[in-house]
């Protein structure tokens, strides 16, 4: 059927007729400008389409064309360092064609069709291969091996395979049955990529943020929800992780957020050097951008696109982190489309299938053994910001997330107003990964890591109780020992948990630095207690010097850290001296 026409347009939704033979989720071209859209409902011979581009100007009777496939992305070398919109079009390419502003109706492939990659086969003609097997490698970026995989579902005996320089669509190998394989293959983004089996994970994902690594750790392959009202620091956390956390590849999804933030990411990520590779961090990053004024339907797609790309690198054996900001905007896109379809709304107007879709999405994170040979293990860690209306966590998106995630990093507006950053509310945040990672931290951090952690949490709890009491009777009325607790908790908040994302040496904390700061805190508590026991009054403790010393350790340059720690130890042991 080629003569399907638009019979209705409202918001991001169009209806076309006759289009009853289309498939659900089939990609279609809508109208004279050939806007991309996706069939989301079929009723008799009418197809309902969510349009991924601006629909203003779309008119009745304009043609609608089927494409025969669903929304695909092409997976292959050239993804790293790219900046693409929610449906995978490179934004630089769009800008070259249509200038500073987005113009609907442009199609552009995600992977550059002309770039040549030098391919080195790792199997020979005659070998039997199946889906997921490694055919060979391409150096995608300096030091970054991109394994060329047999697409899931394909396989057979290799008839021919040639080393050489190829574009992403050139044939690099042929199978006995005539199947040709290239450096890339298409994948439907809504479909998860297969793997051999899931693996448990006990390896922490080192975030470089002390409050997470020390108090609420996450594992490689874990999932975390980061809810918080506006201005509580979600984006700063996502960006800090993308910059400094220890993963091989970062997929950053700017979903329904600000254009200026994306400009900031591009500005920073191009300049910041990854100390491990000596390359700009943009080299290990894929940026998916759908700002809040870009079409709503593409917001839905952007999250699946990011997930698919992450799974693809996972299948090569990499640890990939997805940083999604914000999943609420994705859920709202579903709500907006659902409302236009006149679906029966569930809680707060969200479609009733929201929790289901969310858990299926979160479940795509994990640590796995890949399909195929040689054996590889990879992981996708999923960290998503959530923007609850009014900062109230009882809303559906936060609640649906909590049912599936392994950790909650809850951000609190009053902490943010006090400029206590990261504004993590340690009373309600949690991590189910703590026990699993104890061994690793004991080995790599320090033997008493877990003890220090428990003590610190206890200190913060005690602090809250004491502050309530002090609010009633005044600090002066407290015992010296309680005042020491208040002071210790203040140090913990300011220097251990608190971290300034904009300070060059404070923005990232190594596991060792985190451990030493925690140790110093407990040295302070012990020494303070001993001094009070020796009848030194609380007033006499030289707290100003201690706080200065903590400040110096916190912001110490890496080569000065050791000395600052030594000096702080000295200051602490002297603090009660007359």
């Amino acid at each position: 059927m080629t003569d399907a026409r638009i019979i209705r347009v409202a918001g991001a939704i169009a209806e076309a007729q006759p289009l009853g033979d289309a498939a659900l989720y089939e990609l279609v071209e809508v109208g004279e400008r050939r806007l991309l859209g996706e069939v989301i409902r079929i009723q008799d011979d009418v197809a309902t389409i969510q349009v991924f581009e601006e629909t203003n100007g779309l008119g009745l009777h304009e043609p609608v064309r089927r494409t025969g496939s669903s929304l695909m992305t092409r997976l292959g070398p050239g993804l790293l360092g790219s900046i693409i919109d929610g449906i995978g079009r490179p934004l630089e390419g769009l800008a070259e064609r249509s200038g500073d502003f987005m113009t609907p109706g442009m199609t552009l492939p995600t992977l550059d069709p002309d770039t040549r990659w030098s391919f080195a086969p790792t199997v020979e003609a005659g070998a039997m291969v199946c889906g997921g097997d490694v055919l060979g490698v391409v150096e995608e970026r300096p030091g970054m091996a991109h394994q060329i995989l047999v697409p899931p579902g394909s396989g057979g005996r290799v008839a021919e395979i040639q080393e050489g320089s190829y574009t992403v669509s050139d044939t690099v190998a042929t199978l006995d049955d005539g199947t040709t394989l290239s450096l890339s293959h298409p994948w439907a983004i809504r479909q998860r990529r297969p793997f051999a089996h899931r693996l448990p994970s006990d390896r922490p994902f080192i975030t470089g943020q002390r409050v997470f690594d020390f108090l609420f750790p996450v594992v490689e392959g874990g999932s975390v929800a980061v809810p918080g009202g506006f201005g509580t620091g979600k984006t700063v956390i996502e960006q800090s992780l993308a910059k400094y956390a220890k993963a091989d590849i970062m997929v950053y999804i700017g979903c329904g957020e600000r254009g200026n933030e994306m400009a900031e990411v591009l500005h920073d990520f191009g300049r910041l050097i990854d100390p491990e590779t000596g390359r700009p961090i943009m080299d290990r990053t894929i940026l998916i951008v759908n700002t809040s004024n870009m079409p709503v339907a593409a917001r839905d797609a952007s999250v699946y696109l990011g997930m698919t790309i992450a799974e693809y690198y996972r299948d090569m054996g990499y640890h990939v982190a997805i940083l999604a900001d914000s999943l609420s905007r994705w859920a709202e896109a579903l709500r907006e489309i659902g409302a236009r379809l006149q679906e029966m709304p569930g809680e707060e107007g969200y479609p009733t299938y929201l929790p289901n879709r969310m858990s299926r999405l979160y479940e795509r994170a994990g640590r796995v053994e890949s399909e195929g040979t040689p054996a590889r293990t990879g992981a996708v860690t999923f960290i998503s910001a959530i923007s609850p209306p009014g900062g109230d966590f009882s809303e559906p998106v936060t609640q649906a997330s909590l049912r599936v995630v392994g950790a909650l990093w809850a951000l609190d507006a009053s902490l943010a107003h006090q400029r206590q950053f990261p504004a993590v509310d340690w009373d309600i945040s949690y991590s189910l990964y703590t026990d699993g990672t104890t061994e690793w931290f004991a080995r790599e951090g320090g033997a008493d890591w877990a003890e220090l952690r428990v003590e610190t949490i206890r200190l913060l709890q005690r602090d809250r109780e004491l502050r309530e009491i002090a609010g009633l009777v005044g600090v002066d009325a407290l015992e010296d020992e309680d005042r020491l607790v208040l002071e210790g908790a203040r140090i913990a908040r300011e220097f251990l948990i608190g971290q300034n994302a904009f300070h060059p040496h404070d923005a990232f904390s190594t596991v060792a630095k985190t451990y030493h700061l925690a140790k110093l805190l407990w040295a302070f508590m012990r020494t303070g207690k001993a001094a009070l026991g020796d009848d030194v009054s609380f007033e006499k403790l030289d707290l100003a010097a201690v706080r200065r010393a903590f400040g110096s350790v916190k912001t110490a340059a890496p080569d000065a850290l050791e000395q600052q720690i030594a000096e702080a130890e000295q200051t602490i042991s002297d603090m009660g001296a007359p």
């Binding site: 209705r8 347009v9 800008a95 002090a470 600090v475 002066d476």
Partner: protein, 469 residues
Amino acid sequence: MKRLDAPIARTYSGAASAAGPLLFVRSTRRAKLGEWVRIGGEGQEERRGQVVDVGTEITVIQVFEDTLGLKPADAAITLAGETATTVVGKDLLGRALSGTGEPLDGLPPSIGEARLPIWGAPINPVRRQHPSDFIETGVSAIDGMNTLVRGQKLPVFSAPGLPGVELAADIVENARPARGEPFAVVFAAIGITERETQIFVSRFRESEVMERTVLFLNQASDPTIERLLTPRVALTTAEHLAYTHGIHVLVVMADITHYAEALREIAAAREEIPGRRGFPGYMYTDLASLFERAGVLKDGKGSVTQLPVVSLPDDDMTHPIPDLTGYITEGQIVLSRELHQRGVYPPVDVLPSLSRLMNAGIGQDRTVPEHREWADQLYAVYARGREAKLMAAIVGSEGLAPGDRRALDFVDAFEGQLIHQGGTRRSLVDTMRIGWSLLETLPRDELTRISDTAWEARGRDEVSKEPPR
């Protein structure tokens, strides 16, 4: 948005029905979403509208004027063949126009340089320049503590009875770009009262400010639905000045709350499923289509900076209008009733206020190197003092630790000397000087946020790129 192909107008006679601001028309072949509509007919006043839903059976038109007295059966409905447009050009500077761009100043309509669709297309994110140029507003609480930069969207959270509009007017009069580049203001008044309108018109007319200002006035008595057009007409005008003429444009939009209420009215008329407090579920997206039009382009000369004013219903920050605004904008300037009642002007509460782009716009080569430390330290002492104040209300100031007591005294000095400035303009240099003198009243030991270098360098008498006076 792209203009539709060669606009061809078609006229239909008679609508099937009308309800509130909506008109339902049968079998409008080839109607396009967003198409501009003129509604007239025998004995009917001319009205304007826009297609919001096209269908082969029924097409829905949203009418911008009051529909009182409109007879659907007699209406002559002309689809213009293009989306809403507005005349743009440099000759608009100095003009006072209605909320849809008709002259209000008795002068003939401007000829302009072009006619542009008002539904601005999104800036391609890779073409955005990261905003980092300081704008001096002349307001200490902003310049010193919550710096505004070019390309930012920074709303003022006001409330009924608080001087949000006055503060916006001050900024319009006093703002200067950092290096004396071309500068203009586009002011979109959205549903504001006659009294507020007078504040601007008379103040701007008297000063030379009017020469570099375009005023769009949709007043409280004007049709509500027209409010959906006013900010877009204003932003289209601003974008043209910025990107065609290389001018740095400050767009003030007051009051966004009235805009949001118009949005709710249309949603209700369309029988859409209401979201929180009856506002439509797509209000975030809709507000973003306004606020995201702030920005700076790469290799471009001009910029669009937004200063929306939002009045908080019930002084409630979690109300959907300020809440969604805060989720889109790059910070907020929050006015406090308590400070206002104590006569502090502008009554800015710096604790919940924030400029998220401040870091990029201050420091070495932008303002002064120690700006960050200065602001952090003032903030820290003030925050401590405010907490102490709460505690003192229960236990009395004698129950406080000595540091807390000092911070408590600091609160009054800070509010009275730094925040309060009456109607006068203050340079950043003066603002910083006042801040340093406040800090000097405290023991150096307690100023942990200030490094020795910053402390030694305090009291500079110029900023890095001294703005022309």
